[in-house]
Symmetry: C2
Subunit: 561 residues, 2 copies
């Protein structure tokens, strides 16, 4: 367990650093936790609970020194989408489903960690993740426009959100909008201008930084005071119990578990990918490394903790982890102190939240997620590779149109499908000798030496079931009307595998060529591929030979050297 490595040599200096970082992160996390709970359809205290025990569990099991776990925007949106299909927000069933989702996701992550299955995350390509986060940001912002103006909005996709907004448009409240708009403006100002302004006023850099991080807390306090003082008629958070996280139990109802299994898996993978990339970025800065499989265990423990302490799915958040690292967190103890700070808040501050307007929370969410929206990935992929563009565009469109689960699944299926499609129609180059070298290149791109009796084909792909028929057709077509041809050399420098289907196809191809008096040779067959061919009967009745290099093959079959 990672905790054993740092706790033995824990110094007073580190404790001081960790304490300061924890203070700043706690101030930042209080409004964020409340807001993301609202986004997930949960009562506000659940956001605090989801940030207490999970942080401690991660500190014990996780491998990153600075990662701060808790409710984050994208995972909260996915949680709302998953729970919305099994229960009504605000009911006891909904809360139980949330616990179940967290525990399920935690168990999956934990088991994946034990089985060293971190590689699963590799099947989410960078562009797909970027597109998914962008589309999720748009969905979240759109969903929060409702509370910002007093209108009830629900749904897991753009059409549903717009439709519910239109249905409830009569509830529009000017007072709510006023508070919401002021908060949005203030928070944007805090983000861009507060620190330079404070510095210009002569405030020291550390204090200016802490005050800037406290911007959302100020918005929360000020708007609560205004609503309470002026008795405004806007939607408020209402009564929040003052208590430590309760001991709760997820449901063991098999039907519910079956319904939530797929969402839990998607939440696990997306949360893991987000978390690992944050942790890696921050570790690289300090030349540390994180262990992805240990991260799975850490996140698994955190989600299990959330499932047993009144929370909902959590993962490592980018902003809070950066703040934690920047504030000087030296060890995971900073997380434990943060948890203590939030526990005090859950006990002492919750009664003060009664008059907190929901519009303020919506404003903090909107300002946070608009930073996630970045459509430049579309332009970048369009210029570089169309397959990546199709995957990212598909992910964004499907996420907006049908919701997060369909969106991320589409992204994965599209990227795998496009990869298979390309490898099923591989590039095959007819190659010739570059004069004065032993190097062979494409006859269409280079001035090369060839021989009419010898056809050298470089196959730019492994030979496997998906592409063997295509290659067979291509080679038969190329050799069909070539009367001078006596030898075909397949240059296998890019062939990393020949599976059973390909082997059978090669045998058939060899027989076809033999009928026409053409011998089939192989060159530059790699070690692992050759090992396997030697275990089959193929080499025994090969009509040609296997050459170490293409140059050797060309030299011995022609008069060119």
């Amino acid at each position: 367990m990672p905790i054993l490595s740092w706790s033995r040599s824990y110094t007073r200096h580190e404790a001081g650093q960790d304490g300061l970082a924890a203070l700043i992160v706690t101030i930042m996390l209080i409004p964020q936790s409340l807001a993301y709970a609202m986004l997930a359809g949960m009562p506000p205290e659940a956001g605090l609970y989801a940030s207490i025990l999970p942080i401690i569990a991660y500190a014990v099991f996780g491998s990153s020194r600075v990662l701060a776990v808790g409710p984050v925007a994208v995972v909260s949106l996915m949680t709302a989408a998953a729970l919305g299909s099994v229960a009504e927000a605000g009911t006891a069933d909904y809360a139980t489903a949330a616990l179940t989702l967290a525990a399920l996701s935690g168990a999956m992550l934990f088991v994946m960690g034990l089985l060293r299955m971190g590689f699963i995350a590799n099947f989410l390509s960078h562009p797909v993740i970027a597109g998914f986060i962008t589309a999720s940001g748009i969905l979240i912002a759109m969903g929060q426009v409702g509370p910002l103006v007093g209108v009830k909005v629900s749904g897991a996709s753009m059409p549903e959100l717009l439709h519910s907004f239109w249905q409830d448009r009569a509830a529009f409240s000017g007072q709510t909008l006023l508070i919401g708009a002021l908060c949005v403006a203030f928070l944007f100002w805090v983000r861009r201008w507060m620190k330079p302004s404070l510095r210009a006023l002569g405030v020291g850099p550390v204090l200016a930084d802490i005050l800037t991080k406290a911007g959302p807390v100020m918005a929360v306090s000020a708007s609560t005071l205004v609503v309470w003082g002026f008795g405004l008629d806007v939607a408020v958070v209402g009564a929040v119990p003052a208590a430590l996280p309760p001991l709760t139990s997820p449901s063991f109802d098999l039907a519910l578990i079956k319904d939530l299994a797929m969402p839990a898996f998607l939440i696990s993978v997306v949360g893991f990918v987000e978390s690992v990339s944050v942790a890696q970025t921050l570790a690289a800065r300090k030349r540390q490394r994180i262990r992805p499989d240990q991260e799975l265990i850490g996140l698994g423990a955190a989600n299990l903790a959330a499932g047993f302490s009144g929370g909902f799915p959590v993962t490592g958040g980018f902003a809070r982890s950066v703040v934690n690292a920047d504030a000087g967190a030296a060890t995971p103890a900073a997380g434990i102190y943060t948890a203590l700070g939030l526990a005090i808040a859950a006990l002492a501050l919750t009664p003060l939240l009664y008059f907190l307007p929901k519009a303020t929370l919506a404003a903090t969410i909107i300002v946070a997620v608009l930073g996630l929206v970045d459509l430049s990935i579309l332009k970048k992929t369009w210029g570089y590779a169309r397959a990546d563009f199709v995957a990212v565009a598909g992910t964004i469109l499907v996420t907006l149109a049908l919701g997060v689960e369909a969106g991320i699944s589409t992204g994965v299926i599209l990227s795998i499908g496009l990869h298979l499609w390309r490898s099923s129609r591989p590039h095959v180059a007819e190659v010739g000798l570059v004069a004065g070298t032993q190097h062979f290149r494409n006859i269409l791109r280079y001035e090369v030496i060839t021989d009419p009796a010898v056809l050298s084909l470089r196959i730019d792909e492994s030979l496997y079931f998906a592409n063997t028929r295509y290659l067979e057709d291509l080679i038969l077509a190329r050799t069909a009307e070539d009367a001078a041809l006596r030898h075909v050399i397949l240059m296998c420098s890019a062939v990393n595998e020949i599976d059973m289907t390909a082997l059978e196809t090669l045998e058939a191809l060899m027989m076809h060529l033999k009928d026409r008096g053409i011998a089939l040779h192989l060159s530059e067959v790699k070690g692992p591929v050759m090992d396997r061919l030697q275990r089959s009967s193929f080499l025994g009745h090969l009509t040609g030979r296997v050459f170490l290099s293409q140059h050797e093959a060309f030299a011995s079959l022609t008069n060119h050297a």
Copy 2:
């Protein structure tokens, strides 16, 4: 349309050949059609109907000259499994669902043909198909043991079949078993010994051949006569209407179509793969070629015809096509004559089927499908490639345990998954110069020249999202403690693609290496990959160079030549 190419020059000689082939195929198809209808859970006449209009439709649209379409064993089994989940065998709903399944499958095949999507079949690897057909053969034979002994057996998987057999074991009938066992013995004798026996008796080769093909017809006639003559108490086919194929309509009920869509797709793909491999084998014998996309259209038309004329899903059958070809069929007109022969049978012979024992049909099925069972693929793949073995073993086990749809899906998912898994952990070889050549090979397998300041890595896979993290970790680990290292050359001869994710990872890797004073070079980058890199900003800040050949790279970075 292929029919236009051969019908213009149709000769009397060809007509004679086609007529003889049609006669032999008709004799063979009558019992087969009845039997496969029983296997699909349909009334016997549906088997005849499924062989009349579909044959004509295929003759018009298909590209093979000898392929004989109609009900076949594996597709009939898949049909029974699909229909069993939406209706009770023997009901009107069941028949309507069968029509709908055929029409749906026909429409899918037709559209796939128009869109040139024949490549979809490539994702069924040879071992998966072999395993699936073997497992299907076992399931079919097991299912027919029921009618062979008078016991009612139903179910789509081995456990279900065994369970239902056990439930109805009291219905066991000695008389039925006697007829069934005699038929099985007779049909095996016909298969192995009849032809040589007839030849030994001085019968001419053509007649001996026709008589052998008539074996099942003899079994049908003899057992019908015995049951009628002795008044045996065994399950018989009963009243069969004497009529031409009726004009029927599939259902347009969306709920039914939704339920049948996935089975229809699987039936289409499996039927297409079976059919195309039969057609290709037979075309290759005569140096003809078939066009897979035209085959899709031909099979699509045949299944649409089945859906509108009282049939059920059909495809090209192996045995009947071989018989058709061997009997000298010269053009698809042979199919049209066969259809006429079967239409006459449907009109004139059906009243004679009343006393035909179901045990006889079960016997013809069992003898036919036992030829499909071939477990040697397990041994072959075990010796050659474990991934293929896992795919074939998984396909067989899941087909037997859970049924055909789960089985074929497992096969496809396993083979794609294993392919992705391997390409996500690619082979990377550290290479050196083979003395006296310009050729570079693995330092672990060959005596090669290397340089401590230069690390040459040959990456045996395309760089794409699924393997970039693995490669990054591997290269960072390899270079971590090597103080003498100044240059890393990635030899890209086997890199057929670098996607966006890989490009971003390469940039990150380059920065890591730069921090340690190591330059990153590329060699042997292929044309298409280089084109793409030139469209990005990567080459602009590459810390090393791009070399045409690995030899050039090694020569310019070291003193070795």
